[in-house]
Symmetry: C2
Amino acid sequence: MKQELHAMNDEKAVEIFKALSNQTRLNILQMLKNAETNFSAQAHVIKEADFEGGVCVSDIHKKTGTSQSTTSQYLSILLQSGLLETKRIGQWTYYRRNEEMIKQFSQYIGLNL
Amino acid sequence: MKQELHAMNDEKAVEIFKALSNQTRLNILQMLKNAETNFSAQAHVIKEADFEGGVCVSDIHKKTGTSQSTTSQYLSILLQSGLLETKRIGQWTYYRRNEEMIKQFSQYIGLNL
DNA sequence: TCGGTATATCGTTATTTGCCGATATGTAAA
DNA sequence: TTTACATATCGGCAAATAACGATATACCGA
């Protein structure tokens, strides 16, 4: 039989629901969907194979309408839930979507909700 | 162009995420998926065309591990979010899934997350 | 090594949520 | 028309969340 790796359980799903139960955090996830169009050319969108699609905290902060500290905290909630992944490069911390987790969550909804 | 009726917006989605960001409420929604198997024969599952799949509050309460008042409150949060619908028949209030809303939410996730 | 910039963390306050017991309300049955 | 049952609502308290400014930490460039 085909083995489904990393199938999501209810507990993990609840953690993701919590992460998304805030308008600003939902917006962040959505804005990162098309980082190149949502963030200006000057913005630090990573184009290298290094960490493609990653955007640094200050650029995200400029779009959220919340303080730097709140933005940082929201990013870490999204990171903890698994919806985002991160990489520090020099003095910047880049965040991008974890498409694999998002796909699993979407599948979970379709199957288990 | 094809008109998408009742397309969900972000605000509604956040309300649904909030409703599901609690393990007990998620369980309730899932238990109601197969009301006939999850609730005993003696339980007041409505089989008539009247309100098919509906289960009364006390039967749901027995399964949740929370108090009667908490169960009632959780049901009304799920109702308010649109994930459930309700009908009072005699002294019982029946709740069942609103499959249309659940489908729209699932589609929203697939398209907008 | 010293600013300067980027980010994370801390401490705080206001609001919301989780959850309960007690009580009120609504309905049926005796 | 009492009584019993089903459900909703109220009042409360502890915990979690929202959000901020201030501060600490990390890294870089001069």
